[in-house]
Amino acid sequence: MPADITSQTNAYSNSEIRKGINGSANTAFACALISAIVFFVAYLSQVSSIAAGTPWTFSGEWVPRLGVQLDFRVDGLSLLFGLLISGIGILVFLYSYGYFKVHKGHARLQWLLLSFMLAMLGLVSSDNIILLFIFWELTTITSFLLVGFDHENTQARRSALQALLVTGGGGLALLVGLIMLGQASGSYLLSEIIASGSAVTEHEHYPVILTLILLGAFTKSAQFPFHFWLPNAMAAPSPVSAYLHSATMVKAGIYLMMRLQSSLGGTEEWFYALSIAGGITAVWSSMMALRQTDLKLMLAWTTVMALGTITMFLASNLQIAALAAVTFLIVHAFYKCALFLAIGNVDKSTGTRDFNKLGSLVRFMPITALGAVLAALSMAGFPPFLGFIGKELIYEGTLTIADQPWIIVAAAVAANAMMVGIALTFIFRVFLGGESTITREPKEVYAVMWVGPVVLAIAGLLTGLLPGQITEYVIQPAVSSVMAASAEVKLSLWHGINGPLILSIITVAVGIMLFFSLSIVSRMINNLVEKLPVVGDSAYEFLLNRTQFVASKLTNRLQTGSLSHYLTIVFMAFVVSVAVTLLYHPVSMDFDRLTPVTPFIAIVVFLMISAALVLTFSNTRLLAICALGVVGSGVAVLFLVFGAIDVAITQLMVETLFVVLIATVLIKLPRFPDQTDPAKTRGLRDAVIAIAAGVVMAIITLGVSLTPLDLTVTHFFEENSLAQAYGRNIVNVILVDFRALDTLGEVAVVATAALAVIALLKVRVHAQGPR
């Protein structure tokens, strides 16, 4: 910061600064909150018509030539995401207002959250896949800034960079995949791609398209082996984590898979890719969650688990699987956001997130505790919460879809039992029971901070008790969008005693066992993890280090600072690339086009070649200048002979001026050679490059001279020069009329060069010896 600004800030009193910060933060907060409410209400107003099957569309021109249009289309699936993003957005913005009230970065955070929300809304509402990609990248960038919000913290910066590199890398793959998808299906509109059904799966590039698009989705949604960035991203402030983990960012990948399931799914490749990645992610991350003592980190890993579960379900193209995925998505969004916000409150109030140090918080912060406990019950999947319905659907789905149900069922039970164990830890070790070892007395937080967890927890309860409304207006249209066919779904709490219910009972039993043996289990998992090969974070670290190492080696190799070294590379590249091209695509030479040599030209050329050779071996400056003059004048003569009078005169004039200029400057420079000539091997290499460049250039020019030219442009100039531009000198007419804009640019270059020379000459340099 410049000194004058610093002193200016110091001149203000502290309260004035506070006022200023609060002022801009309040503006940002108001903008964010109002936008979120406007979007939420707008989406709500469309609920019934979208449920009836009429998507809400908007279209505008952007880059028509590239087929990139501002096409927005909100159908059932987009509506579900839009409601979650804007609805949870309202709560998160409110929460942030309380959380950051006295933080100097408050305004920045609110603006970032707002841009992030808008990017997410754009992403789930785009009908054009290029537009979708642009919003996809915008979410990557804004989430980078959000994760690295606390930019003075090394860990936060590292996590932000990691999130950016992993999801950004996936985004590159996605871009290629989407373009190939557009080419393969013949349309860049999602609605048209989906309408063409599974035609893309027949395309020859289908495996490549699938791989690239899944790379994008897996990195974004933190699927194994790209899962590691998400737990690290919890370096972000609590409201940001709550938003990233529940409704946004990581759900973008899920959204993409849901959206394209009907077009790309239904194949073996799709099934195995999603079920294997999702299954490994779910089991692995629930194990990782169990070994954490930091509540926030624990939650972060359960997010990865939830994403894995949803991905696993999207592997199948059965309606029950889509229903399970959509329902679980909603369940997860509700409880995960509530819990993250509650943990934020705990952190703010007690100063720690370690559950071993916390206990019986219900006595100090009852409202936060109410929200957290209700949300945790939904997470554990107890009736009558929506979480119960979600879990039942998961079991029903696993029992239906898998060829080998018992492996997948076992995985699902294991993952869910661990969820139960974690939920019980939250309830009984942190909020309702347990011993607190913290010294300070925790206080209940501001209303804006408990309203989020409570509202979401109650939403989880109400939708569980009365699933009819949400099923009809949100879940059913969303499932229809995923299936690309109208679906009939019904949700209820009680199905009678059946397979899923029995599995639920087993899950709860195992979960309770896990809760009581948590310390033993986490020690076992720790031992296991140590024996496993390097994956995830360490692999990322290794790759990053190697890349930097190779880059610096390469840079040092290429950027030596030596002019002749640079030029050697340039000319070698020129010779090799042109020679290889010539080898594979030989120039077709029509030797009938050769014209006879006149003696005069033969003499001129002979003189020029001789002068050039003199130049090569000359050791005095005067000789070199003379030789250069001969070559230059020879070029002028050639121009003259072949009908370019203007060019010839210009060449002669410039040649004369060169001599004046060079002579003026060279007097001030030492005679060459002022040092020994390059070493013999170096000289040989230079000679080889020089001769090769000459040969290649000679072949090209000969080849071009012996192939017919397209003279359309020239003929245009010849015909219109007198008729349109009233000039007989075609060259001059081109310069000052037809292509005057080019000439203007060239004149500007001459002017710049002249001014630069004059300015450079006025610079006084201080002599310093060679290093």
């Binding site: 610096s552 030596t560 050769l594 070559v631 001030k668 420079l669 000459g694 001279s705 010849e718 007989r728």
Partner: protein, 123 residues
């Protein structure tokens, strides 16, 4: 004729590359002048050669003119080349004043060589 001129282009190109690769800055400058001449000659030559038919429209004359397009390109290129070479010339002189050498290998003041191990630590 075409073969002869291609030979000329080849020889001039070789010589200019040879001069450009030289470690002596003055030789490099000569190479720069030469290569701009070669470039102009190449553009002019690949536009087709017509003997003795300037691109001037005559009343009722033949419709055969030298190709005017490359001429227009080359004409401005010559003047710009002059500007470029003048600038390089002055730059070379100033560099000599500052560093005291015309050996391009010793003119590495602006780009300090960095050891790969050092850059690892700093990153």
């Amino acid at each position: 004729m075409e073969i002869l001129l291609s030979l000329l282009v080849g020889v001039l190109m070789s010589v200019s590359v040879w001069m450009l690769l030289s470690r002596n800055l003055v030789k490099f400058l000569f190479g720069l002048v030469l290569i701009s001449n070669v470039a102009n000659l190449i553009i002019f030559k690949v536009g087709g050669l017509t003997v003795g038919a300037p691109a001037l429209i005559t009343d009722g004359g033949s419709a055969e003119y030298a190709n005017s397009l490359p001429q227009a390109l080359v004409l401005t290129a010559i003047v710009i080349g002059f500007g470029l070479v003048s600038f390089t010339l002055v730059l070379a002189h100033k560099a000599y004043q500052a560093i005291g050498t015309l050996n391009v290998d010793e003119m590495t003041l602006a780009e300090k060589r960095q050891d790969p191990a050092d850059s690892e630590k700093s990153s």
